[in-house]
Subunit: 282 residues, 2 copies
């Protein structure tokens, strides 16, 4: 069983001990309700580092006022049983430890917090930036792992780490999917049976786009139109956004050229908002 | 002579060596053009730590568009001769090393960046917050030293360090003054002879306020009126602000009660804007 750490002092003491024996540390920041996506990050961390620490903290500052902070699934017992012996430490602080009374600082990573999820979730990425900065400063890992399902988040955090000179390597890990293609997410438990059956259309639509590009269709307006039509074949799907952006400039592009191009989408099924994405190359 | 460090990689290697021998590190962040105020910070750091590092960097992000970034006095040769053997390392990065192309992150410490210098220097404290965060992440000192002449800055940085869980102790050091009471500042070199002669009125006015409080005058409006009148006896003085604030709540107060109360002021002499302050107790 991993050792549980609740306070920042406990973490600092633990880290000091680990570092004094010259061991390397990998951090996997999570909001709990662990699934195979998280496990893949943990496996990668265990491969790369001597010690793996997972944080389990449902971060209030990254939820909007009308979002699912209260209902977000929390079950530490379940998480510990999923983890079994796979990590060395679990840091699971209270809200008051992370945000004591008088907390007063904001971090804004401008470019990558605009567009896509930044539009429908204003303030979300500022909350992500602050909590990740805090976790990195508390745990001071050598490497930190993020799932590429949240590609916008991963790009934002990579920029944040570079800009603030945080001495850590941010590693993005491939999206892990259910057998029918649905990207794993703690929020998938919200889906009704009918919604769950229709949700794999997101991955099918992303694959369609990939095939279209492979066949020589580079006009993004047309690609987005066909992806939209595909998703709309599912009556319960309500599209939030479908966008194609250059991953460096973070600008919407008209034609797919060489370079790193991201097709990203967010679609609601009932009250559940799912996101998914794919990197597409000419 | 101290060793000069120009790049972040050089600093990280140096720090790794120092820490591997379990030595403690004190950082004194400066914008150069060193005076006895800086030297007092260095002396304190040398008392407290095995190794003292000073950074010399005129930080562009803390200057407004119409401020004195271009004319701010820079003379590394002079600084090194002032330093002599008093520090172990001088980190003097270029602008491009601190802010490479694509830099995109902002840090805002809300409460302490409002009021006082935050009004006449909009954006100033965001620039201070970002550069201090970067320096602390690059150098990872045990302790970091600030002069209390910039009390608002010191309070803001203390809040920032707490909120971001940066593992460092921020130490505020007493204001160092010329023999006639003028607080030491790199900007004092801007003053003409006449301005220089009139500038000590700031300290006289602060002392007057202290005496008034000691004599039982607690009404801040009246105290500020008398401080204003005192400063206005100098024809070249142009008051920017004179304020009395509670150091915790950062609110202007009507009557001086128990607790930490700051009398802070900014006054222009010609083009030169000077600041000074005093903690006053009932």
């Amino acid at each position: 069983m991993p050792q549980l750490l609740y306070t920042i002092d406990e973490v600092r003491k633990t880290i000091k001990n680990i570092k004094s024996s010259n061991k390397t540390i990998g951090l996997v920041p999570t909001m709990g309700y662990l699934h195979d996506g998280h496990i893949s990050l943990i496996n990668q961390s265990n491969k790369d580092n001597d010690i793996t620490i997972i944080s389990v903290f449902v971060n209030p500052t990254q939820f909007g006022v009308n979002e699912d902070f209260d209902s977000y699934p929390r079950d530490l017992k379940r998480d510990l049983s999923v983890l079994n012996d796979s990590v060395d430490y679990v840091f699971t602080p209270s809200k008051d430890i992370m945000y004591p009374s008088g907390f007063d600082t904001q971090i804004i990573v401008n470019k990558y917090s605009s567009g896509l999820c930044g539009v429908s979730r204003p303030g979300h990425f500022n909350g992500v930036a602050i909590v990740v900065t805090k976790l990195l400063n508390i745990i001071t890992p050598d490497k930190v792992y993020f799932g590429e399902k949240d590609m916008q988040q991963y790009l934002l955090i990579s920029q944040l780490i570079k800009d603030l000179n945080i001495n850590v390597n941010a590693i993005g890990c491939t999206i892990i999917r259910e057998s029918d293609g649905l990207a794993m997410s703690s929020r998938n438990v919200y889906l009704s049976n009918d919604e769950r059956k229709q949700a794999p259309i997101l991955y099918k639509a992303l694959n369609l786009a990939k095939e279209l590009v492979a066949k020589g269709l580079y006009n993004t307006e047309q690609i987005i139109k066909l992806v939209t039509a595909t998703i709309n074949t599912m009556p319960l799907a309500e599209i939030d956004y479908i966008e194609i952006r250059d991953m460096d400039s973070w600008e919407a592009i008209e034609n797919i050229e060489n370079g790193k191009v991201l097709l990203a989408l967010a679609v609601k099924f009932g009250k559940t908002r799912l996101i998914d994405n794919m990197i597409i190359n000419k």
